[in-house]
């Protein structure tokens, strides 16, 4: 490749060639491989999160008054707004997956063993920082899911003995989940955490260059091929980055991620569902009750995190070949098995396909036909003259009441000015089925 005159000019002054050599001619023991791409994929995803995050901040307002509206504005009014937010949303998931695969690779290849213990430990902290990003970012849209999921997360911090209560209040910025919580979560998400993350990424990469990549797990294999980082490993990394970008773009374009209703602190019956990467933990909490609860809320996570962090000192077997490390391999496998079993259970419970009752569709049609939205609002649509029906199936679940009410509203709700509608028995039942289906969880 020819070098441009600008590069030559700069090179004469800054001596760039030697930097280029240092960066690109790093030897990869055993040669370039597709198995080494996860670290750069993670780095790429971080950069993508940083860029899309900066652009989201162009319109986002971190106050309870405006947060929800500003995100809705991004979704509906800003050109490519839904796409940029979609990239950021799916990018977060992508990052968790990429880190997971990166750690799995490092684990399988024994890349945490001497002299790379510190690189592994910094990596574990990086993983925790990413989880902190996920937790703080989740609140920012200020919709019902965001609000109640954060409420639960904070309450879990509160179960830590002695300091929990205080820690929770510090994180929340006082007694209430509100304006102060949102602004500190915002500041942490966009200023503090990025600063910490960048520093630790620099440390992680610095250590990588000081000790070199681990390469294959035996010296014989490492000696088979000697190759520099550029061009083949760079090419593999670039192809994977392009693939990751293509997947995220497709998800952002094809799977819109709408907001739920605006956060409503007085609506205590909302059942939030955490992001999929916290689901295994959410499922675990369902099985542990009473005095054992702190065990699940903080003892177990603490043990797992400390175990991960100190893993290079727990597993002292110097061999890196996974076949010769049955104990480490089995314990890793068990850990993954438990996590994925819990995730699977949780997904099964959450997304078990509900049988669709044809009466619901007929009832919905009646609701439209009689112009019920003229007075009633469902998820922000319709007038606010009569009661909001978004969750009427939760607030008033009795079928008989609704049937009676539709026949003669004043008979059960004296003083109501809702008119009587000419409905036959079948229509009455259909409409009632539809009304009862208006719940938080189907």
């Amino acid at each position: 490749m020819k070098q441009g005159p600008v590069y030559t000019w700069l090179d004469r002054r800054l001596n760039l060639k030697s930097v280029e050599r240092t960066l690109l001619d790093e030897p990869i023991p055993g040669g370039a491989s597709w198995i080494y791409v996860f670290g750069s994929a993670t780095l790429f995803l971080f950069l993508l999160q940083a860029v899309t995050g900066m652009f989201l901040a162009v319109y986002y307002a971190p106050t309870p008054d405006h947060a929800y509206d500003s995100i809705q504005f991004i979704e509906e009014q800003v050109t490519f707004g839904a796409f940029v937010r979609g990239l950021h949303h799916w990018g977060a998931s992508g990052m968790v997956i990429a880190i997971g695969l990166h750690m799995l690779q490092a684990f399988l290849y024994g890349a945490y063993k001497p002299p790379r213990e510190v690189m592994w430990m910094v990596g574990v902290v990086l993983f925790l920082i990413v989880m902190a990003f996920a937790f703080t970012g989740y609140l920012l849209p200020w919709d019902q899911t965001a609000y109640w999921a954060t409420q639960i997360g904070l309450n879990m911090v509160g179960t830590v003995p002695l300091v929990g209560e205080f820690l929770m209040k510090v994180m929340r910025g006082g007694e209430l989940l509100g304006a102060l919580t949102l602004s500190r979560f915002f500041a942490v998400h966009v200023l503090f955490l990025p600063a910490i993350l960048l520093t630790l990424i620099a440390a992680h990469l610095f250590i990588l260059r000081r000790v070199g990549p681990a390469g294959p797990w035996t010296d014989e294999r490492a000696a088979l091929s000697r190759e520099t980082f550029y061009p083949r490993q760079v090419y593999m990394d670039a192809v994977v980055m392009l693939a990751v970008f293509a997947i995220l773009s497709s998800l952002a374009l094809l799977l819109p991620f709408p907001l739920t209703d605006k956060a409503n602190p007085s609506d205590t019956s909302f059942v939030p569902v955490p992001e999929w990467y916290f689901l295994f933990y959410y499922e675990l909490l369902k099985y542990v009750h009473g005095p054992l609860e702190p065990l699940a809320t903080w003892v177990l996570p603490m043990v797992v995190i400390l175990g991960l962090f100190l893993w290079p000192f727990i597993d002292r077997n110097p061999v890196r070949n996974p076949i010769k490390r049955p104990v480490a391999l089995v314990s890793g496998l068990l850990f993954l098995l438990v996590v994925f079993a819990l995730l699977g259970l949780s997904l099964k419970n959450l997304y078990a396909v509900p049988r669709v009752d044809p009466a619901l569709a007929r009832g919905h049609a009646l609701f439209a036909q009689f112009g019920c939205v003229g007075c009633h609002r469902i998820h922000g649509e319709g007038a606010a003259i009569g009661p909001d029906l978004s969750y009427v199936g939760d607030t008033r679940p009795e079928r008989a009441w609704h049937v009676k009410h539709f026949r003669d509203p004043q008979s059960v709700s004296p003083g109501s000015f809702m008119p009587k509608f000419p409905l036959d028995d079948k229509q009455l039942n259909d409409l009632t089925s539809y009304i009862l289906s208006l719940k938080r969880t189907p």
Partner: protein, 181 residues
């Protein structure tokens, strides 16, 4: 990435050279270019979009026709709801209306065409006067004195059942011809 790389570095005896090397380099560049474009285009649109959006214009009632005196400019105040990004703000606007003998009404935008100050009607001199730099207009809006480059800007009006409706607009100041903002 540079020419130096035609010679594999020490310890890199399996590093690709020649056309194989050029292929990897080419793919890397294409991938980087695609990701770059895939981001640059949406992000540019994302930032630029508010600049390209025209203000939504609609007819607003500013007053009753019978409150206007023939040939006497009257300032009409009205409140409109303006969308300000994700917020809705109530803003107060004022326009100057002059009724003609034939019942038609001329409505002037409330800002001086020189630099956009608010002017007022001097009933004794029968002139619109701008306090900032001394521009003076007659009752038809034509410039009589001062630095104003053009006559007062006229707003579209319509009369419905005795009510005066106006489509509010703003114009660039300092131009010879009115340029709508």
């Amino acid at each position: 990435m540079s020419e130096h790389s035609e010679i594999p570095a020490e310890g890199g005896d399996h590093t690709p050279v020649g056309s194989r090397r050029r292929f990897f380099c080419w793919v890397t560049r294409v991938a980087a270019g695609l990701v770059g474009l895939g981001l640059a285009i949406p992000l540019a649109g994302y930032v630029i979009s508010p600049a390209l959006k025209r203000r939504a214009q609609s007819w607003v009632e500013v007053g009753q026709l019978d409150t206007l005196q023939e040939g006497e400019p009257t300032q009409l105040d009205y409140v409109t709801i303006a969308r300000d990004g994700y917020m809705e703000a109530k803003t107060q606007k004022a326009v100057w209306a002059v009724k003609h003998p034939d019942g038609a009404v001329t409505v002037f935008a409330p800002l001086c065409t020189h630099l956009g100050c608010g002017y007022h009607w001097d009933a004794t001199d029968r002139r619109f006067k701008c306090p900032c730099h001394g521009s003076v207009y007659d009752v038809t809006g034509e410039v009589v004195a001062g630095p104003a480059p053009r006559a007062l800007d006229r707003l579209p009006t319509k009369i419905e059942a005795g009510r005066l409706l106006v489509m509010y607009k703003e114009f660039k100041s300092g131009q010879k011809l009115p340029v709508e903002l």
